[in-house]
Subunit: 345 residues, 2 copies
C-alpha cells in the first residue's frame, strides 16, 4: 500500500493545511487490521458489526472538551487522546461490560498542529489496543472554538450479568477501588506548573494524565454477581455516592478515616492548606469504581480481589435507609461536600 500524496504533508503543518481527507487517511494508517466481526470497517457511511452470541450491547458516549475537561497548555496531546477513550471505558467498566469497539467524533481547531493531531491519536489508539477495542468509525470536522473529542464506546455483557446504579440496599457494604484524590492533586500540580513553574510529582501527574479504566474489576464484579450497584468516579466520590443514593433510593454512611486517599495527594493537599478529605472526596477524574456488596456476598468479593491483584478494594462505609450521604469524621458527622456538576462554578 502506498501513501496517498495528501498524507505526505510536512509535520510542521496544521490540520487545516492537511485537510479532512488527509486526516482521515492518517487515522486509517494507524489502525490495526479490523477484526472479522467488523463487517464494514471505517470508511463507509456507517460501520456494520456482527453481534456476540447471547450478549447484550452496552453503549456510552462522553465528550472531552478543551477548556472544560482539559487544558492544552498542560495536558500533552497523547494524554488528551488517552483520557478521551479511558473516560468511556470507565463507564463500560461500571456496567461490568467487556469493551469491544469505539467511534470517534473529532472537532479540530484549524490551527491544531499536525504532530499534535497524530499524538492525540497515538494516545487514544494505544489505549484502544491495550483494551482490545476496535475503532469502528468516526467523523472529523473543523471547530471554530475548542478541540472536542467525542467518543462512543460499545461493549457487551451477558444477560443478567451487568451492574446498575439502582441496586444498593440498606445494609450493603460500600467499596471503592484503588486510591482517590490523586487525579485532582495531579491536575492542581500541572495547572500551577503551567502558570508559573514549580514542583511536579510524576505519580500524581500520571494519575491525572493517564487514568486507568477499571475494566477488569468491572467485568469480574459483574460476572460473579458480587455487587448490587456500581458507578465510576469520573465526577468524584461525592458525586458518585449521590448518584448511587438517588438511583437506589437509599443513603450512605461513609467513614472518612477509611477513605483510601492517595498518600502523595494527601501530602499535596496538606501543603496547599486544603482539607485532604474534602479535596479527595470532591475531586473528579479518579475513574475508580464505587460499588456496593450485599453482606451475604462478601465472600464473592474475595474471588474478585484475587483476579485484580494489586488493585486494593477498600471498605468505606454502609448503605443506609436514610437518604443523603453522611460522612463520619471521628466523633462528628457531616454532609458530604458537593461533587462536580457542569455549569456549576
Amino acid at each position: 500500500m502506498t501513501a496517498s500524496p495528501d498524507v505526505l504533508v510536512s509535520d510542521r503543518s496544521t490540520v487545516a493545511a492537511a485537510g479532512e481527507h488527509a486526516l482521515i487517511a492518517r487515522i486509517r494508517q494507524r489502525l490495526p487490521a479490523p477484526p472479522e466481526w467488523l463487517v464494514v470497517p471505517p470508511g463507509d457511511d456507517a460501520a456494520v458489526v456482527a453481534p456476540v452470541r447471547n450478549a447484550f450491547d452496552v453503549i456510552t458516549t462522553d465528550a472531552c472538551i478543551e477548556g472544560v475537561h482539559f487544558d492544552r497548555r498542560f495536558v500533552p496531546p497523547d494524554a488528551i487522546g488517552h483520557r478521551a477513550l479511558a473516560a468511556n471505558l470507565s463507564d463500560l467498566a461500571a456496567m461490568g461490560a467487556e469493551p469491544r469497539y469505539a467511534l470517534l467524533s473529532l472537532a479540530l481547531p484549524a490551527s491544531l498542529p499536525l504532530p499534535d493531531f497524530d499524538a492525540i491519536l497515538d494516545g487514544l489508539l494505544s489505549e484502544a489496543v491495550r483494551h482490545h477495542v476496535a475503532i469502528a468509525g468516526g467523523n472529523i470536522s473543523s471547530s471554530p472554538g475548542p478541540l472536542v473529542i467525542d467518543v462512543t464506546a460499545v461493549g457487551t455483557v451477558r444477560p443478567r450479568r451487568f451492574m446498575r446504579r439502582d441496586g444498593a440496599r440498606p445494609g450493603d457494604v460500600v467499596f471503592v477501588s484503588g486510591a482517590i484524590g490523586a487525579a485532582r492533586a495531579g491536575l492542581e500540580l500541572r495547572r500551577m506548573a503551567a502558570d508559573d513553574s514549580g514542583t511536579d510529582s510524576a505519580s500524581l501527574s500520571l494519575r491525572y494524565l493517564r487514568p486507568e479504566a477499571r475494566v477488569r474489576l468491572g467485568l469480574q464484579l459483574a460476572r460473579r454477581q458480587a455487587a448490587t450497584a456500581c458507578i465510576d468516579l469520573s465526577d468524584g466520590l461525592a458525586d458518585g455516592l449521590r448518584q448511587l443514593a438517588g438511583a437506589s433510593g437509599a443513603g450512605f454512611a461513609i467513614d472518612a478515616g477509611a477513605l483510601p486517599i492517595d498518600p502523595a495527594a494527601r501530602q499535596w493537599f496538606e501543603r496547599q492548606g486544603q482539607d485532604p478529605v474534602a479535596a479527595a472526596v470532591a475531586g473528579g477524574d479518579d475513574y475508580e469504581l464505587l460499588f456496593t456488596v450485599s453482606p451475604k456476598r462478601l465472600g464473592r468479593l474475595r474471588g474478585v480481589e484475587r483476579l485484580v491483584r494489586g488493585l486494593p478494594l477498600t471498605r468505606i462505609g454502609t448503605v443506609t435507609k436514610e437518604r443523603g450521604v453522611a460522612l463520619r469524621r471521628g466523633t462528628h458527622v457531616e454532609d458530604l461536600p458537593a461533587g462536580h456538576e457542569h455549569f456549576a462554578e
Copy 2:
C-alpha cells in the same frame, strides 16, 4: 411523578443557570417510555440494549457544530435538533439500515437560553419519534465555544442485506433520489435574510432546515438487493460521486441535463448569477441517496419505486471503467466541481 425543584427554573433562564442535572431531567421528562429491549435506559453509566435476532448492528456518529454546520442567527433551535439527528439517520439509510436508537452528546455554551435548549430537544426528539428511534443515553457538558451536538445512531440490517460504497461496477446505472440543490439554495436564502432582509422561499428554507433522511428508500434498496453501492449526499453530489468512485475503483459519466435540480433552487441560482448545475452539484446538506444499480436488476428498482411513492428516483448516468467523474453538458464534458471538505475554504 412530581417534577424535581431543579426543573422549575424560569424559562427566561440560561442552561448555565439551570445546571447539568436539571438539563438532564428536562431531557428525560421529554422521552417516551423506553422500549422493552432498552434494558438499561438513560440514567446509568451506559445503556444496555438487547439485540435483534439474526441482525447486524449499524453504527455511525456525526457532529453538528455551530459556526460550521449551522448558524444560530438563521437556523431556529428546533431545526438544529432536527438536522443533528437527520444527518445520522441519513448515514444509516445509505447502509440500508433500520434505525433503532441514538445517543446524544451535547456541549452547550453557558449563555444558551433554556427555551432554545428545549426547542433543540423538541426538534430532535420529534424526528426520533417519527423514525421510531429511542434515545438510549447521552451526556451534557458546558462548552467554552460553539454549541456542539454529537449524535451516535444505531440501526440494524440483516446479514448480506446492506449496502456499501465499494460495489459500483462499470455499466451500472447511477440514480439519485429526490431533488438536489434545494438545501444549498435554502441556506443561501436564509443567510442573506439574516444579514440584511429579503425574500424567502418557504420550500427551499424547509429543505435546508428540515431535511428528510431517506430511511425508507435505503431499507427497500437493501432488502431487495437492488443497489450495488450507495452513499448519502450530506456533502453534495460531487463529493458523493467521488467517494463512490474512489471506494469502488471506478468512475462516473454523469449527464448534466438529467440532474434533478430542484426548480425553485434553479431559479434562485440563476437570479444570483450562479451556474445552477455547478451550484446544485457542489451544494451539501441534500441528504438524498446516490446509488448504483446493475442493469440486470433495474426491474427490482421498480418495486422499490412503488414503495417510496412520491419520491422520484432519477437516472443521472453510468459507472465507467475510467476513474474520475465526467459531467457531460450538451456536447462537452468537464470534470465535476469539488464537493465540500472540512478545513477547505
